[in-house]
Point group: C2
Chain length 289, copies 2
Amino acid sequence: MLDVAIIGGGPAALSAALNCRQRNKTVTIFGRSLDSSLLFAAEKVDNYLGLPDMAGEELLNTFYAHAMKNGVEFKEARISQIMSMGDSYMINAENEFIQAKAIILATGLSKSKGIAGEMEYLGKGVSYCATCDGMLYRGKKVVVVAENEEGEAEANFLADICSEVLYVPLYQPVLSLKDNVKVVNGKPKAVLGENDRVTGLELADETLGCDGIFFAKNSMPPESLLFGLETEGKNIVVNRKMETNLPRVYAAGDCTGAPYQIAKAVGEGLVAALSAAAAIDQLDREQQK
Amino acid sequence: MLDVAIIGGGPAALSAALNCRQRNKTVTIFGRSLDSSLLFAAEKVDNYLGLPDMAGEELLNTFYAHAMKNGVEFKEARISQIMSMGDSYMINAENEFIQAKAIILATGLSKSKGIAGEMEYLGKGVSYCATCDGMLYRGKKVVVVAENEEGEAEANFLADICSEVLYVPLYQPVLSLKDNVKVVNGKPKAVLGENDRVTGLELADETLGCDGIFFAKNSMPPESLLFGLETEGKNIVVNRKMETNLPRVYAAGDCTGAPYQIAKAVGEGLVAALSAAAAIDQLDREQQK
């Protein structure tokens, strides 16, 4: 089992990972490629103390090299869900399941809070993971809303289980769907429901009746990654130890709110790592009793 | 008038100063020499992301150079007091008085909370500044407790005003005291008082009756620098914006609590600077109305 799983890939994630290693913890970063970080595109950065006048890409590569030299593992993977297992967490990394004692969320700026009703019906018909939840919709009608082609695999999997699968692609081109998956073009507006269950998806021009809606997203709002995580607007709520409201779950960097700056992210990554390391040590001591 | 005065001289102070300059604010750091920073003595630091395997001295010099390149002024001076002037603060830097719109405290680890009674009788007979408060003790008996030879100037100044000056040196050698200053050797234990006024200083072996006690210290506990500053144990209380309980007074780095790490200090310095810059902009707008 991993000590610490870090979700991210920018400066907060790399600083957290480096400092987990300094405390002799095993750590894997689950992130997108480095060039997906907002920092990568920055032309010039001159306010990270000690590294004057660097291009964003150069700075990110310097950070990455420092972390790697210390034994950090970086796994390029999209995380669709993190489940609490009591004393540990189970991470779904593109259907590979990894267990970790502690989680550090360094997911950056959350780009979307989803459409109306999406959060409200999460776990009540809304899902982000066909592999996890598909079986709940055996013989039922579902809609897959996909921001990228990974949605196609989800839809094809569901096509073997569900009575009907509608596919709403938000990207082009759609490459390979099974024959019994029906493409519907339109812009999703709202998740509809009744009695605490999803009943349909409202598009700009029509409404699709259904029992479940699967979203395949480029980035996940953190509260949909981890059930029960406290957020305030787009920000994950943390205290000065970078603790969230969930045990052994920490957050660092842009996902905790402004200012969206490297030094803040790097500092918070360090604090989150030291808090995680201390909590793991305490858990280990308790379990040895 | 300065925009921002920073009290400190380590990584938090330098990061705060750099980021004040990035927001186009004038800024002066009032600090001790760089070699007085705890970091200066560190043999090797490898957990500040992007600058692997650096000696503390090298890292501090790198930080210093980066800040200076951006127009930060560094003034080697001991600060004995900061007074609120309503919309600004007045800083006493070895009897030069400087006004600033905002203050960032980056004073590092507070080494002492003082002796028993010291905080309780602050402003009621206890003082850290003979120039400021000496006149209040005209014709009275005072004790000067000095951790360094700067206490000698304080004592000599008081000798012209007070009826009797006792000098308790906590260093060696004592170099030049006026004839009417009497040296008393002993370890201070407690400030004594009655009816909200100082009545004496208790030493290990004797008690010195007096009307006032002046302390000349190597480092000042921050709550004695700035009247009314909220602390918790040795830490200055801050929120996530690095705001203290006083308007336009911020704190960053070790003085806000553990972990005592560079990345945390640098991140907090940045946050304090951006908060200060925003508050100054708002104050300026209000004053233009």
